[in-house]
Symmetry: C2
Subunit: 522 residues, 2 copies
């Protein structure tokens, strides 16, 4: 029942303990894994029959209700030419319906797996299949730390989060809007954001999607960095596009999708589903809707340029029965995310789903309990690109410095988890027990000496000392340790080298683009 069961024997190519050992012995400057290749099967919780019912409901939603497309006549024409029925609702608003099976057919041109290139080729990531790529959280207007509390994010915060991510061997991708740099005009901040990713990280990243010209600028900057020809042939940037749930695709989103696809760049198609608000409360229906919206959005990219990389996606959340507020890191969306993994594999598309979600306003026990429940669903469910892997607090309204380093550490634990259990003569360790026999400690056995440096993942943030030692050292809690750690990591951060000519060309592009338009603050 496990698609992608890779547990039979450990893979030695890229993932697995061999690489882990290298990453450790190499230390911060050593060999790191650019992404994880999962060595455990996915957790498949629904039967074939139930999955088929969800898929049939998604098809029925697309056929009988359809997508409301707004303000993008080009997208409308693409859908119409592909065979969709398009009905005028009012000026610039159309209802697009698809015969059952039609969207699935269009999606056959989408790659099951693709490479997103980084400016440092050692950091290229493979998206899809058994690969897992972890990226920091995305889109919070506020930032938080224990010293200064909650405030609007600035470009300095933005750079700081990129730098923190870059220091972590357990993240693989620089993310996108790691926080909103609200001190930069709305119509110009995409330039500073994309530049920050290019300059302060040497990993792959996401570009702007908030206006068609910002999407184009993001891609144009990639042409400066990678060369225009390389960009046309390879995915070097992705855009993260939200449908307007329920069942709406707005013009800004549709034209952004078209821009990324036309340039052969990647696009993530994410319904952000709050149960009871913009989706049914019940998980089966929420997943069906997520599938329908994401499939029809992915299809637009394929109609623009067949073969353009797309990522199926869904963000599931529940709500508080007391207040009606959205809740994150709760059990029902975790289950839904596992199911989304099953559906993505049946569709043979890469998946973005779940992350380190929490509703907590502090990096406390609630935060980490909710995060772990949500993140495990992404990891176990087979999500390939996990945005929101670090920093998420306050129901996505705040990016937390402490939570960022807590989650980065947790991502390290998840590397070990995805490596699974090796079963062979050596790890079965009969000799270890036979060496000294019953009742004898194994500290000094050959097996222990051979394995003790690599057997267990080692946290940089957990306190594993005896209580007395911990108490003597001040009895510091997890949040305070995280506070110390992010400051240390930022202080030690070193920017990856960049070609000076390229850097100047990027800065010149930005200066020209900024000079060309008035500041806009909304």
């Amino acid at each position: 029942m496990h698609d992608g069961d890779s547990s039979l024997e450990p893979k030695r190519v890229r993932g697995g303990r061999t690489q882990r050992r290298e990453a450790r012995s190499g230390g911060p400057g050593g060999v790191k894994r650019p992404y994880i290749i999962r060595n455990i099967p996915t957790y498949d919780i629904l039967s074939e029959e139930s999955l088929e019912k969800i898929e049939a409901t998604a098809e029925r939603l697309l056929a009988e209700i359809g997508i409301e497309l707004r303000d993008d006549a080009v997208a409308m024409e693409l859908y119409r030419k592909a065979g969709a029925k398009v009905r005028d609702i009012s000026e610039g608003i159309w209802r697009v319906t698809f015969e059952p099976g039609m969207v699935r057919e269009i999606l056959k041109t989408a790659p099951a797996e693709f490479t997103q290139h980084a400016r440092n080729p050692a950091n290229n990531v493979q998206i899809g299949g058994k690969n897992v790529v972890l990226a920091p959280s995305y889109g919070s207007p506020f930032v938080m730390d224990l010293d200064k509390g909650r405030r609007y994010g600035s470009i300095q915060d933005f750079r700081n989060f990129i730098k923190l991510g870059q220091t972590s061997p357990w993240l693989h991708h620089s993310g996108g809007t790691v926080c909103e740099p609200t001190d930069i005009p709305v119509n110009k901040r995409h330039l500073d954001m994309v530049y920050s990713h290019m300059r302060y990280s040497d990993r792959a990243f996401l570009g702007s999607i908030t206006a068609p010209e910002r999407a184009e600028d993001s891609i144009e900057m990639c042409r400066v960095l990678f060369g225009a020809e390389f960009v046309d042939q390879n995915c070097v940037i992705m855009g993260n596009f939200n449908t307007t749930s329920p069942m709406v695709l707005d013009g800004v989103t549709a034209s952004g999708i078209r821009a990324y696809a036309a340039a052969n760049q990647g696009s993530i198609h994410l319904p952000f589903l709050l149960g009871g608000a913009v989706a049914p409360l019940t998980m089966a229906g929420m997943v069906a809707q997520g599938l329908a919206e994401s499939m029809s959005s992915c299809a637009l990219a394929q109609l623009v340029r067949p073969g353009a990389p797309v990522v199926l996606a869904a963000f599931f959340s529940s709500m508080s029965l007391k207040s009606g507020s959205p809740t994150f890191g709760t059990p029902e969306p975790a289950l839904a995310s596992l199911v989304m993994g099953q559906l993505a594999r049946r569709l043979k598309l890469p998946l973005r789903c779940a992350g380190n979600f929490s509703t907590s306003k502090l990096p406390d026990g609630q935060a980490m309990q909710q995060s772990m429940m949500s993140m495990m669903s992404a990891i176990q469910g087979g999500a390939n690109y996990i945005l929101h892997s670090a920093g998420f607090l306050d129901g996505l309204l705040s990016m937390s410095y402490e939570k960022m380093v807590m989650d980065m550490d947790m991502c390290g634990a998840l590397h070990a988890y995805l490596d699974g259990i090796e079963v062979n003569e050596d790890t079965l360790a009969f000799e270890a027990l036979n060496e000294l026999g019953p009742g004898q400690h194994l500290f000094s056995t050959q097996h222990t000496l051979r394995h003790y440096e690599t057997a267990y993942w080692d946290s940089a943030l957990d306190d594993n000392q005896p209580w007395e030692t911990w108490d003597e050292q001040g009895g510091i809690d997890y949040a305070a340790r995280a506070n110390t750690r992010w400051k240390k990591l930022l202080a030690e951060y070193q920017a990856p080298a960049i070609d000076q000519g390229t850097d100047e060309a990027l800065l010149d592009f930005i200066a020209r683009r900024k000079a060309a338009v008035q500041d806009m603050w909304y």
Copy 2:
């Protein structure tokens, strides 16, 4: 590949949303679930081939190294008569080896599933199969709370933890040594502990195992509470027995196992495996050893009384590579626990495994992150009886009041998780989206109105309010809310009724037993 996949269609008998709805609408006085019947498959991470290798290694350990049995000639004779080879090592110490397959053959008389009776029959628990029974943590010498910090546990703390457990609809079993009541003499505290479970809870519980006469006293008190004939025919108490890893069964443990089995009571057979100390560091070997030790210990119970209820068990932990200290809630033991679930199902025995483990000294983010990783492995791996489901901190050295209520709340979330996702016409919710169509919020749809009270598990402890509201109310963190909550729960606690004659008989038994011997403090 999933044994016990029950996801095909939701079960309506006992578990599932029907009961959940009842539990909610009924509130504290309403219908509660006495235990969970899982409605999601188990997470099976190893292949058949790898499992067979682990099983073969366990058999080889038993055949070639064997178990060192100490100070129990009766147990030695039982093993010998069953066909084991017994070799004298020294006075009262024997090496017992078993031909491959022999222990597995002996275990065929053990029930795959059994009922442990509670004094309130509504709280009887079913152990084995698809059933999940949650119990508080066990065995900490210290207790902690945010007001008074860490100190030795007392009988008052012991009673408090039983009372807190009893208030929770998300625990099903009262546990055993919820903390050590260190203010009671060592040779008499079992009497007060067993009485406290009987008096302050009306759920099933664990008895003493620290000396043969204490095991006998525990069972004798059950005869007072339930009647001797009932006890002989039914499991009303269980003992939690630790092997002395690696590969030793000491006389106190062996005679305790014999006492429980002879009385037809349950026994849990738990190797407590610290990798690199009393087990190999590598997980495949640790699991093989756990299986060998637990199987041979379970077998003793079957030799005493075939059919006596036994629970296969294992406690896996890792160690800090920096300090050599044991670590809990880490990824490798979580994987091992999933594998132990697969092995238990192949052996057709109920399983106790993992729990809310953490090395943290405070109820902080580390605590809940580690707890969730560990607890999920028990839940997903199919453990049937999950001791340490609430209160565990400080590497099992401390029972925390705040962690107790945090974990109780998490156990609620896990009820919802184990209920899985129902897929039917109603939950697929086509009509919900069709009612108002694209772009329209679903707040007021018939589907939302019908489901909003029961769609999501509702935490008693998480803060899901908007940041502004939370901030206005003082910006209270999770630990502080837990501190308020345990005090409130204790203040509101009401003892379940008990027959006055029975209560007096129990107190009389205790008084006589206490008077008969001198206090011992070690």
